[in-house]
């Protein structure tokens, strides 16, 4: 069958050539916005924030405004790394003859321009010239954000190189840490919004975002100097970006240094093969005294896995990101209350960090793809794999936990650190081993283990909760003794923590051993299952029909939502903190009945949560049979 197309007129053809692609692009954009409303929502939220900033500029403090404008520009540079910008922006493939589109891509710059208009608005009180000068400065800051964001995406964003991963982890950890300590941060922010403290004012002299306003409020001559410096910084950034783009186009690869120096092969008898090839030899630490010690009692196969894991921890972008996130989050959660003169949590920075890293390690097997085949084809490889992973985690996290804990103790000399320090070994024991078991039990492979991005998250909430719960369980004896035990047992707390950690280590390793020895091929098959089943779509409004069709999922959601009530307000609050307000059932009882009711409530809540987790895990997948 042949199809004969009617020949259009010249004008009609030209119009059609324009109209059809335009209509297609409009349709694509409409569908994209409907299916991916992220940019629209982000744009609206950004506009609201920009409006607030302009309103603040009308009456607010000059230095605080400079600080806020700087935070805005910095956020603009860093935020795209967290929102799917993980693969770089410019690639040779993009230089095809296709129209440049993307209203969503223009949302950020447009909203930022509106937000930075707050600077000339504030300068209006100093006259028209001041408005013009500050507007120029605002545009320069805007350009700085625009170019900085592009550079950040190219340099640190591609495939989540180590720097980008660390940055992302620090940023998300900071955001979560601040969000978790709002009660402590708010009073300080309130003070800042009224008038910046003296130390902030002094520091702002070196922050470019303060310069547009300083240019019009400072002494004569300072304005020209500050503006010229700002222009210079923008020009430097622009030059750097142009060089970067030229490099990407010329070499066909984004900016990412290749590792070419790791050829640690040295022949016996001093024939340095690596040197012969012009590459560096093994690190001296390989044969160093430090490794000789643990070589004696760790089997060679386990040592090999430890070495592999430690290299992965320092090189894998997502592992670095998780590590940085957990450490920063814990440090801020424990440290930010200092803003409100609360130092009670400082010694807990170490245990919190250890718990956080454990939770973030609950999906590491999936992150490695099907690399598990190597130990599965090696004699005794399963045991080595489990122990090596756990040991490497311990080697990596123990110094972090100890350092943070010690720093907390030093910074808060008036707080009794015994409870925090005693939970540390328990958390380390559980954190090293249980996540290995969890990640073998619930393998969620990433799409591309070779070049993962921040979007590849191999952990799910159930794995995180199980790993966290194991840590809490290991610390339970210590916490129980701290809360209910006689003061005479206090010297025994570190020993109890150590025993809890040892028991958790043994239990976790045993479970993981069993899993890998008996179901190794199942784990490997799951790790190779790259296409995930579609996620259950949850209704955001009350939908009775959906609840009828998804009974188990609805029950799971209900139990996971309500289960916390018996655990925390009805159980832990009266038991641990003695809070017995009217609606707390245990509060109406006394003595052993009070304790029994509290414990019963905790048990009830835990049972509800576990049932919820089981139901959630077994929820039917859409499209599944």
């Amino acid at each position: 069958m042949s199809t004969e197309l009617s020949a259009p007129g010249r004008l009609g053809g030209t119009l059609g050539a324009i109209a059809v692609p335009a209509r297609m692009r409009a349709t694509m954009l409409r569908r994209s916005l409907r299916e991916h409303p992220g940019p629209t929502v982000a744009g609206l939220v950004g506009l609201l924030a920009a409006a607030w900033l302009i309103r603040y500029a009308l009456r607010g403090d000059q230095h605080t405004l400079g600080l806020l404008a700087g935070a805005w520009v910095l956020g603009w540079i860093v935020l795209p790394l967290l929102l799917g910008g993980g693969r770089g922006r410019v690639r040779p493939a993009h230089l095809r003859l296709e129209p440049i589109g993307g209203i969503p891509a223009a949302v950020g710059p447009a909203v930022s321009l509106v937000a930075l208009a707050a600077l000339p608005v504030h300068a209006a009180r100093y006259g028209a010239v001041a408005v013009l000068v500050t507007a120029g400065g605002a545009v320069l800051l805007w350009l700085l954000g625009l170019i900085g964001s592009a550079i950040a995406l190219e340099v640190v964003g591609h495939a989540g190189g180590p720097a980008g991963a660390l940055l992302t982890g620090v940023f998300t950890g900071t955001a979560m840490g601040v969000a978790g300590s709002l009660w402590a941060v708010f009073p300080w922010v309130s003070v800042l919004l009224v008038a910046a403290p003296e130390e902030v004012v002094r520091a702002m002299a070196y922050v470019p975002s303060a310069w547009p306003l300083s240019a019009v409020t400072g002494p004569t001559g300072q304005g020209a100097r500050l503006t010229a410096t700002l222009v210079g910084i923008v020009a430097l950034c622009a030059a750097a970006y142009i060089m970067l783009v030229r490099r990407v186009i010329a070499t066909g690869v984004p900016f990412r240094p290749r590792r070419t120096t790791a050829l640690p092969l040295v022949r016996r008898g001093g024939d340095d093969l690596a040197a012969r090839r012009g590459t560096t030899a093994a690190s001296p630490a390989e044969d160093g005294q430090a490794q000789r010690g643990w070589r004696a009692w760790v089997p060679a196969a386990t040592r090999a896995v430890v070495g592999r894991e430690l290299r992965a921890w320092t090189r894998h972008p997502l592992r670095l990101q998780y590590l940085a996130f957990a450490v920063v989050y814990a440090a801020l959660l424990a440290g930010l209350p200092l803003l409100s003169d609360v130092d009670l949590l400082l010694p807990w920075a170490g245990p919190l960090a250890v718990l956080g890293v454990a939770a973030m390690s609950a999906g590491l097997v999936g992150l490695d793809g099907t690399a598990l085949w190597l130990p599965l084809t090696t004699p005794g490889g399963e045991r080595a794999e489990v122990r090596g992973r756990a040991l490497a985690w311990l080697v990596l996290v123990t110094p972090i936990g100890v350092l943070l804990a010690v720093a907390g103790v030093i910074l808060a000399p008036d707080v009794d650190p015994l409870a925090a320090l005693s939970t540390l070994p328990a958390l380390l024991g559980a954190g090293a081993s249980v996540p290995v078991w969890v990640s073998l039990l619930r393998v969620r492979p990433v799409a591309d283990p070779r070049h993962p991005t921040a979007a590849d998250n191999p952990t799910d909430i159930v794995s995180v909760l199980v790993a966290t719960a194991a840590g809490l369980l290991a610390t339970a004896p210590v916490l129980a003794l701290v809360i209910w035990g006689p003061s005479e047992v206090a010297p025994l707390l570190p020993l109890v923590g150590l025993l809890g950690g040892a028991a958790a280590w043994w239990g976790g390793v045993w479970l993981a051993d069993e899993r890998l020895a008996r179901r190794g091929t199942t784990v490997l098959a799951a790790a190779g299952q790259r296409s995930r089943p579609p996620e259950t779509v949850l209704p955001l409004t009350w939908d009775l029909q959906w609840c009828r069709e998804n009974t188990s999922t609805a029950w799971a959601l209900g139990l996971l939502t309500v289960g916390w009530i018996p655990v925390i307000p009805q159980g832990l609050m009266p038991l641990a903190f003695g809070i017995d307000s009217g609606w707390i059932v245990a509060g109406h009882l006394s003595g052993s009945a009070h304790t029994a009711m509290g414990l019963a409530m905790v048990g009830l809540g835990v049972a509800m949560l576990l049932t919820g987790l089981v139901l959630w895990d077994r929820r039917p997948q859409p499209g599944g049979s």
Binding site: P299, A371, G381
Partner: protein
């Protein structure tokens, strides 16, 4: 479907049969994925000191069979013996005797090639000096100098194959099981690998490899097994299975597919 077996194997095979147990012996192997029976009662014997090719169309069950033989896939039923040891029960012993290069599986991607070899040697408990010497030699021989210093995530498919082969050889196994070892490997490296494998077999080792290249099987293998739809449709020496024709033509005939491509596509040759 009948299995064609022919008598009179070559002298080397006959000798090996008499003296040593089969390097790999598979009986009644079955594997089903959901409703799909990937391997349907395969019997396979690989004699020691030989090159054995496993060929079959895509999805025939070659990789699943190899995966079960080396313990990466659990069979539903059947028996596997490696050099006289029960591979499903005595895993420690059979793993020690076997070197494996699977197809399409990941490596520890953050390690460089040299680090992969050291890791693999460590897993197998090789003395450090031995491991260092062997790894250096393998890197030299297989032309892996660049790959040795590059993270595996950034290595080409060919380099990954060669590194995979190097780690499979590192502990000097007696049975080498290679799934598509020459895929994406350049001709020069292919010649090198073939030479290395020939020396391995000449030294008494046994090599089982799956491939799509009939030419390679004809040039390298003593015996060949043709698998189609999860079953063995022909097995024996290469000459016997080829039955006087080219192995490729015989293979196409055995798997029941006509070599299409001679009809249609008139527009491709300019005819309208």
């Amino acid at each position: 479907m009948t299995v064609e077996r022919r008598a009179a194997p070559p002298d080397k095979v006959t000798y090996a049969r008499r003296v040593i147990p089969p390097a790999l012996e598979i009986r009644g192997l079955v594997k089903t994925f959901a409703a799909h029976r990937a391997v349907d009662g395969i019997d396979l014997t690989v004699h020691p000191g030989t090159f054995h090719g496993i060929v079959g169309p895509n999805g025939a069950g070659k990789s699943t069979t190899i995966g079960m033989a080396v313990g990466l896939v659990t069979p539903d039923s059947g028996q596997i013996r490696i050099l006289g040891h029960d591979a499903l029960r005595d895993r420690r012993q059979t793993r020690a005797l076997t070197g494996v290069l699977p197809d399409g599986l990941d490596f520890p991607e953050r390690l460089t090639g040299a680090e992969l070899l050291r890791y693999s040697a460590g897993l197998r408990g090789l003395p450090r000096a031995t491991a260092t010497d062997r790894a250096a030699e393998l890197i030299d021989v297989l032309g892996l100098t660049k790959g040795a210093g590059t993270p595996l995530a950034d290595c080409s498919t060919g380099t990954r194959k060669k590194l995979g082969l190097a780690q499979a050889l590192l502990h000097a196994p007696r049975l080498l099981v290679l799934d598509e070892p020459f895929e994406a490997v350049d001709p020069v490296s292919t010649a090198t690998i073939r030479q290395v494998l020939r020396r391995f077999v000449a030294g008494g080792g046994t090599c089982v490899l799956s491939t799509h290249s009939m030419l390679l099987v004809e040039q390298m293998c003593d015996e060949v097994t043709v698998i189609h739809q999860g079953r063995v449709v022909a097995a024996g020496s290469v000459a016997e299975v080829a039955a006087g024709r080219s192995l490729e033509d015989r293979f196409v005939e055995l798997v029941g597919a006509e070599a299409s491509g001679s009809a249609g596509l008139a527009w491709l040759t300019g005819a309208r």
